[in-house]
Symmetry: C2
């Protein structure tokens, strides 16, 4: 890097906003409110406290908390200490968390009060567990610490690890770098239209791709963060009206529950919701419009710092009927201003024609692609074989160059906004002594979008009930990952012995769950 | 740079917008209109044409045109060819232009029809003039060229030279790099609030700091560029209403003439005008508000890619009386999201206290500081002695950390939005055989903001009239640089023999020009 270039890093963002927006409310968390001056001070003290207890630059600091002020402070303060942030999915099982901790080897684990028990069970599985800091100890440490800011010298250095899979055998921690996080923050602030008058509600978990980099984006804008530890539609509507919420990000399942809630009344000043993971349906768009909600459709992966494509709204779309708007907005779209190059490529690595018909795989190259998987050169070179991240998502490119996914990465099930790797559930099923072979596929579900359904072939002369086998999985994995149905029988195979999942998918009817009321 | 990082460069911006906003109107220039697809095609053809006639990566390409579609195409197309853009100030004299051309040694000079004569006179002064391409030849070249895009590999490589002074003895060409131009484009798009529904009017010359990087910012947003070859308030109001202009940048003198024009009627959809060079007065803000115009106050230098500070509007300021708003908005403000670190330092290089009283010099360090002056290591190290650009502007820092200039760089006069280096005018005066010593200072002027006034001491037994001496200067420099008044007599000196300009300034009353009607 040229000697006078300043490294691109989100640590510059809080430094600026603590001064420029000093008196603005930065964080609302229940009854607690911090101005940007206070927020910046707390972030600085957290960085100082971490250094004082012996955390060194490059050390990992894990965090297990829902969307509280601690999650926000950690997202800004851990990088400011020079350490690498590891936000843990609070929905994981103790085993899964232990698997991530064993892999990331954090020096410290910061834990919200209600998750101390889960953290304890995870740490009990480790030979060399991290130092646990509870919410209470966290406050005591901050109270006496001196503010500190580590100077980032290399914008390519890691700022965070984001784990996509938690089983002990297969932990994949996507390494985010400072440069990408800064650019993504700017991009999200720009594309979402965040400004100092914005109020951002934390419906998206901050442990998902560092909240799509919105902790930094919202801070850059001088907007107000409204914490939401638990997603609850009534609470969301209450905050929308009482705090004047203008923006949030939400998985389609959350979006459905918000717009369909009986207490829903139009958002006074307008509400923009960024969504991803599934296209917004015409009915949803119609309901949202009536509630003064504008939906922005984004697409990305853990490996791309969250959103990499944006379904860029066009002035020409304004005023179209809902069905037509929905057709436009269903598409994953075009690269954001910072995400670099996105291609849809065939098996030979050539671009498919932009005819809306030819299917290829989405491949992405740019400054918001991870550096790689932590401590895993093999999986890194599989994910990024030739400088391009191959997503596994199959898509077409329309004549206007908007990308639309036709078949999602075959082994991922998106349930309630959470990604489930089917291979992980299959391994958990196979761990049962009665199971000979298992295959897990996505099944449409009225409430969760998709749920995992398992096809299981038992060993000869054994038996296990559906209920017991599901319980077995719940003992190993986060509960949301357990199959909602198990279908017993022989599995279809290809000539080379691979399970023909497309046949299973074709036979997995959405009618399985149609009767569920979605409550 | 890490192998998988993509270089930050504005060339990625037009590549994206030509696809994403293909059918949107990109450029309006009189009766001509180009969509983004057409604009991208023309930019690509320009890049191709330049290569075809032998321009190599790193070669300079100079451009002499007012704000036409050619200026826009060149600002995007020259970098896309791999060459370095040199936009020439159309208000300079033939000698000044020749001085810049002799220093920059461009391979090609693109000239708008009405400036062919000026270009010819400049080239006649050169031993090895560049190949001149007239507007007509430009169209013929584009018609047959194949679109081309050079791959930028080093984001620190030069994208443009911006000359701050044109005399043959002292040409200073600030080198802009791709990284800074990209970041500044994003920053301007964000801070100005540009989107695909925006319509940007080109009141600011594109030869000033590459139009503050707005050619790239407006293109990134997918907004419409409306060209304006000549600043004329009636024409501006006509375009505001007919094209639905939402944004422009303008020097205070232009802003005054826009808001004070008899045809001014409120801008239907609201108009945001970014200004710089002098604080907007309370009266101006009041007039602007009545016309539905929102004024954004920015501060920067040629050496900082244009705006580096923004008077960030605060929600708390909303609804304040005009006088109070004006006091807030008169300040140059705080760093933008990308401009890095800005300090106000005393003679020992220490930060002055933020008390609104202590005066220091503004110093800037970051990604939107130039690489240096082209082919001038001495002036570069004077401007950036220790990694910090020293601006020469004296300022205070208020308790809220907003910076406010108290005394502008001693040797710069800002007249009608143009910077005039007093030393340059002094040298022109001293070139007259009758002049023994000359000092030039700024004098407030009702129309131009400031104008140069000269204090001249003649040699013994010589004489020259005020009128003849002004004519002499106009023969050497751009007409706007000539002193508006000359006061003859001995000059006050310090003990070491320096002219005491502060005494001259104190004696230079604004009443000199009060009677001028500003027409």
């Amino acid at each position: 890097m040229y000697p006078r270039f300043e490294p691109l890093t989100p640590t510059s963002i809080i430094a600026r906003s603590a001064v420029v927006f000093a008196d603005r409310i930065a964080v609302v968390d229940g009854a607690r409110r911090f101005t940007y001056a206070e927020f910046g001070d707390r972030v600085g003290r957290l960085a100082g406290a971490l250094c004082e207890i012996g955390v060194n630059p490059g050390d990992r600091v894990a965090v297990l908390t829902p969307n509280t002020h601690i999650a926000l402070e950690a997202t800004l303060g851990v990088p400011q200490s020079g350490a690498v942030l590891v936000m843990l999915n609070t929905r994981l099982s103790a085993q899964e968390i232990a698997g991530i901790l064993a892999h990331a080897e954090p020096a410290v684990l910061i834990v919200q009060t209600e998750l101390v028990d889960l953290a304890g069970r995870a740490c009990a599985l480790l030979a060399d567990p991290p130092r646990v800091i509870t919410a209470k100890e966290y406050e005591s440490l901050l109270a006496v610490a001196s503010p500190y800011a580590h100077e980032v010298r290399d914008e390519g250095s890691p700022i965070a690890l984001n784990y996509t899979s938690g089983t002990t055998g297969n932990p994949k921690g996507a390494i985010y770098h400072h440069r990408g996080a800064f650019l993504q923050a700017l991009s999200m602030a720009y594309h979402a239209g965040l400004g100092p008058n914005s109020v951002y509600l934390w419906t998206l978990p901050m442990f998902h791709c560092n909240g799509w980099c919105f902790p930094w984006a919202v801070t850059a804008a001088g907007a107000t963060h409204v914490c939401l530890p638990k997603v609850d539609a009534a609470e969301i509507w209450s905050l929308v009206h009482s705090e004047g919420v203008t923006h949030c990000c939400a998985a389609p399942t959350v979006l459905n529950s918000i717009t369909g809630h009986p207490t829903a009344t139009p958002a006074q000043g307008g509400l923009r919701i960024a969504t991803g993971g599934a296209p917004p349906s015409p009915a949803l768009i119609e309901r949202a419009t009536a509630l003064n909600i504008d939906i922005l459709h984004l697409y990305g992966l853990t490996e791309t710092f969250g959103p990499s494509l944006i379904c860029q709204p066009q002035p020409l779309w304004e005023g179209l009927p809902a069905a037509q708007t929905a057709r436009h907005k269903a598409r994953q779209g075009v690269p954001t201003l910072v995400s670099g190059r996105v291609r849809v490529i065939d098996a030979n690595g050539m671009d498919v024609p932009p005819d809306g018909q030819a299917i290829g795989e989405i491949a992405i190259r740019g400054n918001t692609v991870m550096s790689g998987y932590y401590r895993d050169a093999t999986q890194t070179s599989q994910a990024i074989p030739e400088g391009w991240l191959v997503t596994g998502d199959l898509a077409v490119q329309h004549p206007d160059r908007y990308v639309e996914i036709r078949d999602r990465s075959k082994d991922v099930i998106i349930s309630g906004g959470e990604n489930i790797a089917s291979v992980e559930v299959e391994q958990a099923l196979a761990a049962h002594p009665a199971v000979s072979e298992a295959a897990v596929v996505a099944c449409p579900h009225p409430r969760w979008g998709e749920v995992p359904v398992a096809y299981v072939h038992l060993r000869e002369d054994t038996s296990v009930s559906e209920k017991d086998l599901i319980e077995h999985v719940r003992g190993l994995l986060a509960h949301f990952k357990a199959p909602k149905k198990i279908i017993f029988g022989e599995l279809p195979h290809t000539a080379t012995g691979k399970v023909q999942k497309f046949k299973l998918r074709a036979g997995t009817s959405s009618t399985l769950f149609e009767s569920e009321d979605g409550s």
